[in-house]
């Protein structure tokens, strides 16, 4: 073959190959057996005891099963899943003192290969979940109610003496009953068990080199390296789907229907969750029918409107407060670039600037919440009445909230620091995480409103990358910072403790502590009477209103973008990555009926 012939043959060959390739693409347009979800983030681990990110948790939700499940879209009502009954005081499965939970377990549950689940698996799963306790992991969510300890290690990384015995004693089995002994009543326990610690196979775990369930070896598996666990990239659960492959190369997770599922099999045969960073690519794949649903945030809402065969389900409730403005009560002045001169001389702020309640109240009255929600976020959300979001016990629709009132803001600024703030003015830098437009807008609104009150007030707004933010946050250098909180489990404690308790995630670096709040938060979680508990959370939010340690600005409403052939999807805001993520068991695909032609007489 000479050069010229080769040159002529090459395009012909190329065209022939490409024409072969068109077939699979066209077939992918409507495939009722396969569901493809496109997201932007990648999973971290398939291990239920390790995973603490929504992308991984969504997969885990479909492969493993916890003891209980939330009923439909409810975040309050539980139904049994692995358990045969949901324990309540009424059915006598929660003891009178609220410290013993007896949970009957189903006997017909099988793992994905058809082997029956045993009580040893149930106990092992819970113990493994609480004792693995990796740094920054989910174990404390269940460890605390079961043992009274917030971690298995002390601040120096040493194992807490006797922690294994405590854990072992708290998780007991009696026949087909799981009996949990708590050191004190802990009301959110059932909701935690509905969200975390799903059942894994003890036999499979041991066979593949994981913890054998004994005291002699548990320390070896405490705070492990992620990739050393067999659960990291493999799965063996009882759920409606089986993990076929987690391809970290292509950011793709493939799940297949569990043909041995103990309930009726799922309607979908395959579920593919794929991470694609670029929104335009995700959108094009949705339009082409290669994707059934995609992640699209509020900023691109207009771009997905009016797309043929694409359904937008809007105004979906969330269980998050986002954004929240936090004030730092005691700043670290060492090399702090955010506080100007560090004095109240008009060129900076003192380290205790936000320790003055008048300053905090002035800021609270200087922000236009309604305008921000309506203009910046197209009205897609509500102003929270405190840190407890709407939809949870403890939410109080009648709680007083701050609203935009420049006159009151002036009043409090004039009172602050004996009038020095008003007289001298101030200057500091407020930061937001780079790329977050709503948070940038929030700070710009705040800056505009505050600077309009007094020409000597000056706030500089600047973006900051996450690593730099962490560095400044941990060392209490940020005068104000914006973050958010989303529910680990649907209970007010999960919001009040991290956001308001002096031992919580935020009050630590904020240097905020109110002993009244600490005491009430502690008492409320142990309160088993829902009516009394609700009142306690109302009181907590009254104190929050008085203290103003933070400004909860928005409880957002989300939306979902999916093809119109997707059926059976149920939104539950507590599901991981909701409403983009999904519990796929009830989902199926069916082409919508063509519109009927009008009948002519």
């Amino acid at each position: 073959m000479n050069q010229r012939t080769a040159c002529r043959l090459f395009p012909v060959l190329l065209l022939a190959l490409v024409s072969c390739a068109r077939k699979p693409v066209q077939q992918a347009v409507f495939d009722p057996s396969t569901y493809t979800e496109l997201t932007f983030n990648d999973s971290d681990s398939m291990d239920p005891a390790w995973s603490y990110d929504t992308a991984s948790d969504e997969v885990i939700l479909n492969i493993y099963e916890p003891l209980f499940m939330f009923k439909g879209s409810s975040t309050k009502e539980l139904v049994p899943l692995i358990a045969a009954k949901v324990p309540t005081r009424a059915n006598g499965l929660i003891s009178a003192d609220g410290k013993t939970y007896t949970i009957p377990i189903r006997r017909d549950v099988t793992f994905q290969d058809g082997t029956p689940m045993t009580m040893a698996d149930v106990r092992y799963s819970i113990l493994r979940f609480i004792l693995q306790d990796r740094d920054a992991g989910p174990s404390p969510l269940l460890l605390e109610p079961l043992t009274g300890y917030g971690g298995t290690r002390d601040s120096n990384g040493k194992i807490v003496p006797g922690i294994f015995k405590k854990a072992e004693k708290s998780v007991q089995i009696q026949g087909w009953d799981l009996v949990l002994h708590l050191p004190r009543p802990f009301s959110p326990l059932p909701t935690i068990l509905a969200s975390w610690a799903p059942i894994v196979s003890k036999e499979w775990a041991i066979k593949h080199g994981d913890w054998d369930g004994t005291e002699a070896t548990w320390k070896k598996y405490n705070n492990p390296q992620k990739q050393t666990s067999p659960f990291f990239e493999h799965a063996f659960g009882t759920g409606p789907f089986v993990l076929v492959r987690w391809d970290r190369n292509t950011h793709e997770i493939v799940m297949r229907r569990n043909e041995h599922y103990w309930r009726a099999p799922a309607k979908l045969k395959y579920v593919i969750i794929k991470g694609i960073d670029e929104f335009e690519t995700r959108k094009l794949m949705l339009e082409a029918g290669e994707a059934d649903s995609i992640y699209a945030d509020r900023e691109v809402w207009e771009q997905v409107q009016n797309t043929p065969h694409v359904q937008i389900i809007d105004d979906l409730p969330t269980l998050e407060v986002n954004p929240i403005v936090f004030f730092t009560f005691k700043l670290d002045g060492t090399g702090n670039p955010f506080i100007g001169s560090g004095k109240l001389d008009g060129q900076g702020i003192p380290l205790d600037f936000f320790n003055d309640i008048n300053v905090r109240k002035a800021f609270a009255y200087a922000f236009d919440y309604k305008d921000y929600i309506n203009e910046v976020l197209n009205g897609k959300g509500i102003q929270p009445t405190g840190v407890v979001p709407k939809g949870l016990l403890g939410y109080n629709p009648n709680q007083k909230i701050y609203s935009y009132d420049p006159q009151k803001a002036v009043y409090y600024f004039k009172k602050a620091f004996g009038g020095q703030v008003w007289k001298n003015g101030f200057k500091f830098t407020a930061v937001y995480n780079a790329g977050n437009i709503p948070r940038q807008s929030l700070l710009q609104v705040l800056k505009h409103n505050i600077e309009a009150l007094n020409p000597r007030f000056n706030i500089e707004v600047r973006p900051m990358d996450w690593p730099e933010f962490l560095d400044s946050y941990i060392s209490s250098k940020l005068p104000i910072f914006i973050l958010a909180w989303q529910a680990d489990y649907p209970d007010a404690y999960d919001f009040t403790f991290p956001l308001l308790d002096s031992q919580g995630a935020y009050p630590g670096p904020q240097h905020f502590a109110d002993p009244r709040l600490d005491k009430l938060i502690d008492a409320a979680v142990a309160q088993t009477d829902p009516a009394k508990r609700e009142k306690m959370y109302w009181r907590i939010q009254e104190l929050e209103y008085e203290d103003v340690p933070n400004l909860p600005v928005l409880q957002p409403l989300d939306y979902r973008t999916q093809r119109d052939w997707v059926q059976g999807w149920v939104n539950n805001p507590i599901f991981p990555d909701s409403p983009y993520g999904c519990y796929y068991y009830p989902v199926y695909k069916k082409l919508p009926a063509p519109p009927r032609k009008p009948k002519h007489a």
């Binding site: 490409v18 492959r245 493939v254 082409a288 996450w466 946050y473």
Partner: protein, 341 residues
């Protein structure tokens, strides 16, 4: 020649050591909390920040951390990449073949088009063809790759439903991960052909068309212009005039005499282009959801994934030294006056 290759290869570990030391030195400017951001991504994890710093030894002095890393490397372990969620060596093996395949599919046309049309433009200076290639070169230069990439994607995939993003479609995905598909080379098009599955090869090739077209259009401009200017310079030299005066046919003058001499700067540029493509083309890989090494190394750098960044850097340094060595050898081939020793 062998002496030259041996000397260059001996130089390789020194380059790699130097590059990694520089990088570690640069990381010294970042605080432990900043480097802990790799493991603490959610506000729910903020309270455990100090524990994370302790666990990963991020508060140890940087020389100590470098020594720990270097010891690992000397034992053949490049560490674990948190962003790739796999050991660094595995990540390189996983991502590199995709980039290599894309590079091959793009680089050969870049070379052929660049040299052929560059030569032709010089020969037909200021004629229609020259003007046309100039326009192509200027637009290729000035068009950002994400604009061109999205534009191509919208037309060919969005409108005509051909040339989809990704590396393959679902059917092929299931096939290449099944036991009946043998991975001979890591280059999926070739592997599919070797497996006798032409439909799969076509599908993989179809996924390569748009990213390759983007790369070709963006990269060919430079090569085209360099070839043209180098050719113009050679065509004006005395030996070309002599060759023409001797009555040699024009094609021989251009192809055998002028072009061979004009290729020296083209070889230099081509090797740099090749290294650039092999090290990964971040934007193109991102737009087309192509799982290559560029996308991974940038994510690793953004998220301060130290083992990941070091692995990608080692690979780049290795490629750079090897590609430079090959281009030096090519100099001797195109111009026998150059002696490697």
């Amino acid at each position: 020649m062998l002496k030259f290759i041996a000397r260059r290869l001996l130089f390789l570990p020194i380059v790699m050591l130097g590059v990694t030391m520089l990088l570690f030195g640069a990381l010294q400017f970042l605080s432990p909390a900043m480097r802990a951001s790799l493991y603490v991504k959610d506000p729910r994890q903020l309270s455990a920040l100090n524990e994370v710093i302790l666990k990963y030894g991020l508060n140890k002095p940087m020389p100590v951390q470098y020594w720990i890393w270097l010891k690992q490397v000397l034992h053949g372990n490049l560490g674990y990449s948190e962003t790739a969620k796999m050991p660094v060596a595995v990540a390189i093996r996983a991502f590199f073949p995709a980039t290599f395949e894309l590079t091959l599919v793009s680089f050969i046309p870049i070379l052929l088009i660049g040299i052929y049309f560059g030569t032709l433009s010089a020969v037909k200076k200021d004629k229609l063809l020259d003007q046309t290639t100039r326009i192509v070169a200027i637009t290729g230069y000035s068009l950002p790759s994400f604009v061109l990439g999205l534009f191509l994607l919208m037309i060919f995939y969005g409108h005509f439903q051909i040339f989809p993003p990704g590396r393959y479609s679902l059917n092929v995905d299931l096939l290449v991960h099944s036991s009946r598909f043998h991975h001979y080379t890591g280059l999926l098009t070739l592997d599919a052909l070797l497996n006798g599955d032409f439909a799969a090869a076509g599908d993989i090739l179809a996924h390569l068309v748009l990213p390759a077209t983007t790369l070709i259009y963006i990269s060919v401009a430079l090569l085209l212009r360099i070839t043209r200017s180098s050719m113009l310079e050679e065509l004006g030299k005395d030996y070309v005039r002599t060759a023409r005066a001797k009555g040699l046919p024009e094609s021989v003058v251009v192809k055998k005499h002028a072009r061979k001499n004009a290729l020296i700067p083209v070889v230099t540029l081509s090797s740099l282009l090749f290294i650039g493509l092999l090290s990964g083309v971040v934007i193109t890989e991102t737009i087309f959801d192509f799982p290559g090494i560029g996308r991974w190394s940038v994510i690793a750098a953004q998220q301060l994934d130290v083992p990941g960044v070091m692995g990608a850097t080692l690979l780049s340094a290795f490629l750079f030294v090897v590609a430079n060595m090959i281009s030096d050898m090519l100099y001797a081939f195109v111009d026998p006056r150059i002696r490697l020793n």
